[in-house]
């Protein structure tokens, strides 16, 4: 096998990204959808770190970006979960297909 490098990491990251996207598309449970989003965000972080390390190590932009992404992900997850819980209270379900009242 090849010596692992930038492209390997990019492959992992892209794969993870689209795994997350796939999950987001197919999961009906809101929490699992949220989890898929987390995967997506993590793949992005991986990108940032990989680019930072292999291409642009002169600055720590990538690193910082991923730190902030993690923070944002936390905030987003928190709000999302609050919303999901609230939704659960009113709908008694967190199946996304039960929350399709508004359409067309």
């Amino acid at each position: 096998m090849m010596e692992p490098g930038l492209y390997h990491l990019l492959f992992i990251s892209a794969a993870l990204f689209f795994i997350g996207v796939y999950g987001f598309f197919t999961r009906r449970n809101l929490i699992t959808m949220l989890m898929s989003v987390e995967l997506v965000l993590n793949s992005v972080n991986l990108n940032f770190i990989a680019f930072n390390k292999y291409l642009w190590p002169n600055k720590l932009d990538g690193l910082f970006f991923s730190i902030f992404v993690i923070a944002i992900a936390a905030a987003e997850a928190a709000v999302a979960i609050a919303i999901i819980i609230n939704l659960y209270r009113s709908h008694h379900s967190i199946d996304v297909e039960n929350a399709e009242e508004m359409k067309f």
Binding site: Y22, G23, F25, I31, M35, I49, K53, P57, N58, I67
Partner: protein, 172 residues
């Protein structure tokens, strides 16, 4: 093949396989656990790249924070052991196709791209460098984003409180 390479592939496999399982398993707790593994795998990759700080943050925030949050919310909203409803096969195929197309497209661009590279002196991602820059207000300082994120977290918290702790109607 060096040990580092082996470790890399193992981490990569861990990340991707558990990531894939996290979005496909029908048991929600397992999904959460697989997510956890995947996140840990990513943290491992950070370690592997010698970005220890970010790996630590990853473990603290994700593994320690978000996943726990998710698991709690699963407790709140789901009977344990209950299988997730089955997804429609058409949707699955279509989603997989879309995701794969996206993936292929992205990978194609990535592999065809000849990345430029800096020739400047690298900065070590050490904790002290990170700390200095994080609170720096000059060039390459990240004090402002830090403040912004703190306000965001504050706002998110308030939002969460209002929504999640909604009082029963007509109670003080």
């Amino acid at each position: 093949m060096s040990g580092s390479t082996i470790i890399f592939y193992m981490l990569a496999a861990l990340t991707l396989v558990s990531g894939a399982l996290a979005v496909t398993t029908r048991q929600i707790f397992r999904a959460a656990i697989f997510l956890l593994f995947s996140l840990i795998g990513i943290a491992g990759l950070y370690f592997w790249m010698q970005y220890e700080f970010i790996a630590a943050v990853q473990i603290v925030v994700y593994v320690g924070g978000i996943t726990v949050l998710i698991i709690f919310s699963i407790f709140l909203t789901q009977q344990a052991g209950e299988l997730l409803p089955k997804e429609k096969i058409g949707r699955q195929v279509f989603s997989a196709l879309a995701a794969f197309c996206g993936f292929a497209l992205t990978m194609l661009q990535l592999y065809q791209h000849s990345f430029k590279q800096t020739t400047d002196q690298p900065i070590a991602p050490s904790v002290s460098n990170i700390g200095n820059q994080m609170l720096g207000v000059e060039d390459n300082g990240f004090a402002l984003p830090f403040e912004v994120v703190s306000i965001l977290l504050l706002a998110a918290m308030i939002g969460c409180i209002v929504i999640a702790l909604r009082s029963k109607p007509a109670t003080a």
